[in-house]
């Protein structure tokens, strides 16, 4: 979340889409309710189903799964057409006035400039800004067409560094130049008319206009006081163009000047108790902790790597840019010092060569694909039910049959640890499976201490309620003992490259089971030598915990396991354990409760909550402001800005971007599939893309071509749109083992529209079978009027929904009450090219009565 849970109470307008917070985040949902009660805030809910969230909405629209960009693109168009935009904000805090390179082409035929059909790749040279200062009043004249200097690789040398952004970006503050981001944006979404939105999403034009008018009404007549928020979850991410859906939301929020504001922002609701923490600590293959980029084979040494990953500031000449990622070397070296300790020395590039270099994608779906082809020999599954979470679960089951070993650390027997007795396997086949399965008794959440990082980026410490029962062990003990054993083997037997394992720091009081408090202190980081800040005239002594990431150095004198968490456990104590309930501003900031990254800041980019002079847009919601007397930024929240940068210096508020401004247009290779979001159909879709039928899907999305990765088409009879989701009453694949939860929702079911049930001659409670090109799913039908039929590009279309919580182990399963089919037998392994998230929502099935 750019903002936080409690901050939602400050909003005037909510768009809840791609998420179902009332059901999946019921505790956090008190804040949307609070905004309605205390501020008469309006709530728009857009979802394929009329959910429990929709029950509290002022306006509900039923959308076809996977068409969110069309809807949001239509909203962008509506805001532009009706001048419901924050003009000053747009001009000064976004790249609206920046000029894009000549030759850049909008995807009116479904493809951006630079596409090579033969290799299915984009040359992104034109996805960039133009060099050249002010072009106000100029059109494409001679001085404006300078070709970019394309770096050329020396023969046999490493790949050339990708093109950089210009240091002196061309701009036109009148926004009239045809290649300003603003004009291109206008042109890009001019195609997303209400009629087009209706054809694609199935939302009738009048309803769409009602929603567009309501949401953008906060900027009626140029008023900047009000703020609107967008709230989403995996309903947006789980698509072959998921990242771009969220981008469209960001564009809309920048147009309306809602980012950085109390009650505004783009807010991702995280689906597990600590998924934010997992992401921060690099739960994904392409990052290191703190979102540092993973090195690749072209990064032959630390210098090359840092040159590649450290952005140089790029902006219009008269402006200033903080470009905070310019500190990348400090974060990286401090990280290397944390991991490799004394083995990381200046002379050896701080042991940079110990880090693995990724040569290709190791995304989730790739791991299973690789295993199914015999590449991955073993799997450690910790608190993670790989078979059930899919996609294409049967492929995962079959892949495990080819693995040599599988280790599952769990608190219940699950579908993964018992993949060898998944439905359909005969005793004879079972004997043929060579995989050795080890089950380790893990500890439940209430048996562990440590932190949860919530959606609002707050680190909050929790205590263990009771010790793990019987032979169950804490995660850190199991992991530590595996590590120590591996290290012992490397020590004894050597190996190809034992150094990284042998050199890793392991200075815990109890090496067999490190205390998480010690680990948390280590992640925060400390000074290894005296570190002095001349400006503050302050010194941190060697051995002391660092108070914040501004103290990190690139000379090896500091450590930090994750720069973003630097400040969470300082000499003053465990900030993450604080429980102060003071909220002087009344904005729900609670500065002394827990600790939020970065720097205990509750709303990110909060400089944008003020006008150009540094005065809050809304004097009633004062987050930060420029204190002229002190010549500093001050605030109720921690300013997300260079504290002494005066407004007249015109530093951009989006300090993590090299341009310093919010990106309506994303330059260069930051996104794989285009600088502007474009609507692409899901890979299984009932219609060809009405915008460009010849380029229906996202050309950059990853799909597998093996026989087990079939996609279905309407021509083959797969004509019902299917989406998957979770219920309030269950938590993933876990609570099906708890009688209390089972009592609340005892059995799997499929939600289907009453009209479709009539067509099938089906009554509620009778069994139905869904079949996709990959598998089938059988459960009782929940026949409901809360899902209606839709007209998609003139074609009557139905949607059905499948809750994901069941499989072949659990109370109902063991009692023989279910068909033992995990929901993800249905879903396809097609993934978004930026975040690698599979398309769990919006695929095609056939439906029949059993």
């Amino acid at each position: 979340m750019t903002n936080g849970w409690i901050d939602i109470k400050n909003t005037d307008m909510m768009l809840i889409m791609g998420g179902n917070p009332a059901e999946n985040h019921p505790c956090g949902f008190k804040w949307p309710i609070e905004a309605k009660r205390q501020r008469n805030a309006k709530m728009i809910v857009v979802d394929p189903r009329f959910t429990r969230t929709a029950s509290t909405a002022d306006l509900f629209l039923q959308i076809r799964a996977g068409t969110d960009i069309a809807f949001l693109g239509g909203m962008v168009r509506y805001a532009l057409e009706n001048n419901r935009i924050a003009r000053d904000y747009l001009l000064n805090y976004t790249n609206a006035a920046f000029i894009v390179k000549q030759g850049f082409k909008l995807p009116e035929d479904g493809l951006f400039s630079g596409f090579d059909a033969a290799t299915n790749t984009y040359n992104k040279a034109t996805w960039n800004y133009e060099e050249g200062g002010s072009l106000t009043g100029k059109t494409d004249a001679a001085g404006d067409t300078k070709a970019p200097a394309v770096p050329v690789a020396a023969a046999g040398g490493p790949a050339p560094a990708p093109p950089a952004m210009p240091a002196n970006t061309a701009y036109d503050f009148s926004l009239e130049h045809p290649r300003t981001v603003f004009q291109l944006l206008k042109r890009q979404y001019s195609r997303y008319t209400p009629e087009m939105v209706e054809r694609i999403t199935g939302i009738p034009k009048d309803q769409f206009l009602k929603a567009a008018d309501l949401f953008t009404s906060i900027r009626k007549d140029g008023d900047m006081k009000k703020a609107g928020t967008i709230i989403y979850a995996v309903g947006w991410t789980q698509h072959s163009m998921g990242t771009q859906i969220i981008r469209t939301a960001a564009i809309l929020q920048l147009l309306l000047g809602n980012v950085g504001r109390a009650g505004g922002g783009v807010n991702a609701l995280r689906g597990h108790s600590n998924i934010q923490g997992a992401t921060d600590m690099a739960g994904v293959f392409d990052i290191l902790p703190g979102y540092l980029k993973m090195p690749n084979p072209t990064d032959t040494d630390l210098k090359t790597y840092l040159a590649r990953v450290t952005p140089k500031s790029a902006k219009p000449g008269p402006w200033d840019s903080f470009n905070y990622w310019s500190n990348m070397p400090r974060f990286t070296v401090s990280y290397l010092k944390a991991v490799y300790g004394d083995a990381a020395k200046k002379e050896n590039d701080f042991a940079f060569h110990y880090l693995p270099k990724i040569d290709h994608s190791y995304a989730w779906a790739e791991i299973w694909d690789n295993m199914s082809r015999g590449g991955v020999k073993g799997l450690l599954a910790f608190g993670m039910n790989g078979v059930a979470i899919g996609p294409n679960s049967q492929k995962n089951i079959d892949a495990l049959k080819k693995a040599e070993w599988l280790v599952v650390c769990e608190i219940y027997p699950d579908e993964t640890s018992e993949f060898w007795k998944s439905p359909g396997i005969t005793p004879e086949q079972m004997k043929q499976i060579p995989t050795t399965v080890y089950r380790l008794p893990g500890a439940g959440f209430a048996e562990k201490d440590g932190t949860f990082v919530n959606s609002a980026r707050w680190l909050q410490w929790k205590n263990a309620a009771l010790p793990p029962p019987g032979q169950a062990r804490l995660d850190q003990e199991i992991l530590a003992r595996i590590y120590l054993k591996v290290r012992e083997l490397y020590k004894k037997e050597g190996g190809k490259f034992p150094d990284p394992v042998l050199s890793a720091t392991w200075g815990y009081t109890n090496p067999q089971s490190p205390s998480l408090a010690e680990v948390a202190r280590e992640i925060n980081g400390r000074a290894l030598a005296d570190v002095t800040d001349d400006k503050l005239n302050q010194t941190i002594k060697a051995g002391q915990q660092l108070p914040g990431f501004a103290w990190l150095r690139d000379d090896g004198s500091t450590t930090s396991g994750n720069w973003l968490y630097c400040g969470s456990w300082t000499e003053a104590g465990a900030m993450m354990q604080r429980r102060g309930t003071e909220d002087p501003s009344g904005l729900g900031i609670y500065p002394n409760w827990g600790w939020s990254w970065p720097a205990n800041r509750r709303v990110m980019y909060n400089r944008a909550s003020c006008d150009l002079d540094g005065k809050p847009w809304d004097p009633d919601r004062k987050q930060v402001w420029w204190n002229e007397a002190a010549q500093r930024w001050a605030g109720n929240d921690v300013p997300d800005f260079k504290v002494d940068s005066a407004p007249k210096d015109h530093m951009g508020p989006f300090i993590m971007n090299a341009e310093g401004v919010g990106r309506l247009f994303v330059p260069l290779a930051a996104l794989a599939d285009g600088p502007f979001p474009e609507h692409y159909e899901p890979f299984e879709s009932p219609v060809a893309n009405p915008l460009h039928p010849n380029q229906s899907n996202n050309p950059m999305a990853k799909r597998f071509k093996g026989p087990e990765d079939k996609l279905g088409t309407p021509a083959e009879g797969y004509n019902i749109v299917c989406t998957t989701y979770r219920l309030t009453e269950h938590y993933h694949y876990w609570t099906k083992n708890n009688p209390m939860n089972v009592q609340l929702v005892p059995e799997p079911f499929v939600e289907i529209p009453a009209e479709l049930a009539d067509d099938l001659g089906l009554h509620g409670g009778e069994k139905i079978k869904l079949t996709s090109a990959r598998g089938h799913y059988i459960a009782k039908a929940m026949v409901t009027r809360r899902i209606k039929s839709m007209m998609i590009d003139g074609k009557k279309t139905y949607q059905v929904g499948v809750p994901i919580h069941w499989g072949y182990r659990g109370i109902a399963e063991d009692e023989g009450k279910t068909a033992l089919t995990p929901a993800n037998l249905l879903s396809p392994a097609v993934t978004d090219p930026n975040a690698f998230t599979p398309e769990f929502k919006g695929f095609l099935v056939k439906v029949e009565k059993v």
């Binding site: 019921p26 009329f50 002022d58 509900f60 609340l744 929702v745 005892p746 009554h763 509620g764 929940m782």
Partner: protein
Amino acid sequence: MSTGALRIQRASGHAGPIPGEDTQRRMQVAKLIDTTTCIGCKACEVACLEWNDLTFRDTVFENSYQTMPETAWNYWNLIKFNEHQRDDGSMMFLMRKDQCMHCADPGCLAACPAENAIVQYQNGIVDFQQEYCIGCQYCVTGCPFNIPKFNSQTKKVFKCTLCSDRVGQGLEPACIKACPTGCLHFGTKDDMKELAETRAQQLREHSGYANAGVYDPAGVGGTGVIYVLHDITNPEAYGGLPSNPRVPWTVRIWKGPLKWLGNLAMIGGLIGVTMHYLRYGPKHVNGSGEEGGRP
């Protein structure tokens, strides 16, 4: 945590009145359920089961998110899910937490013939005391809300106690404590009534629910559980909430005029017997024993 002796004055992360504020034991207490902010999460169902130590039940999927068709002797708090289609075709998903309404004029108590089996405390809570229950189930007949439920094994009737054990200690009922959205409130009846009316007014003026109102039915003397409804003219849409609940006339007649008539008849009988004795003396038994045979 508050105890019987200590009352919370302020609470963190909490907007609105403190749950249970000012609930003196002699004051009328009430639960306020704002159905317009209920999200059907069932946290109240679970809290009720856990606080009251109720055992698990086997349930069956019934084409609904609702846990079971109605409350049970060991399931006192049930959210009723109702799909409601408006005239313009748009949907409403109405969720109403169903439990004992703690009527000011409780039909169950009126119907109950067993001494002390049903009591009404001074704060308005209607409580069943199972040790005195004779299992006659007249209370079931007496309730216009279909709440008391009979356990055929123990031959006792059970229902929501409004957590009289917690309230007596200055705590809010378990369901209130568990509610994540603040849809449930607890306090004095006067405070809850005011809060409810304010919310209903907000719904009428700002949310387009022209018929929003407060359900506190006069037919049972008002209730210790009041609802804010989107549409007060159609409470039946919320899972069969009666629009004008009354104590059944059979109970009224039986426990009113009929009881008097019965009493009169009984007194008349006694008077008759006494008069008969005074006038004719004891009855003589003849034939069985001549001597000393009189009792």
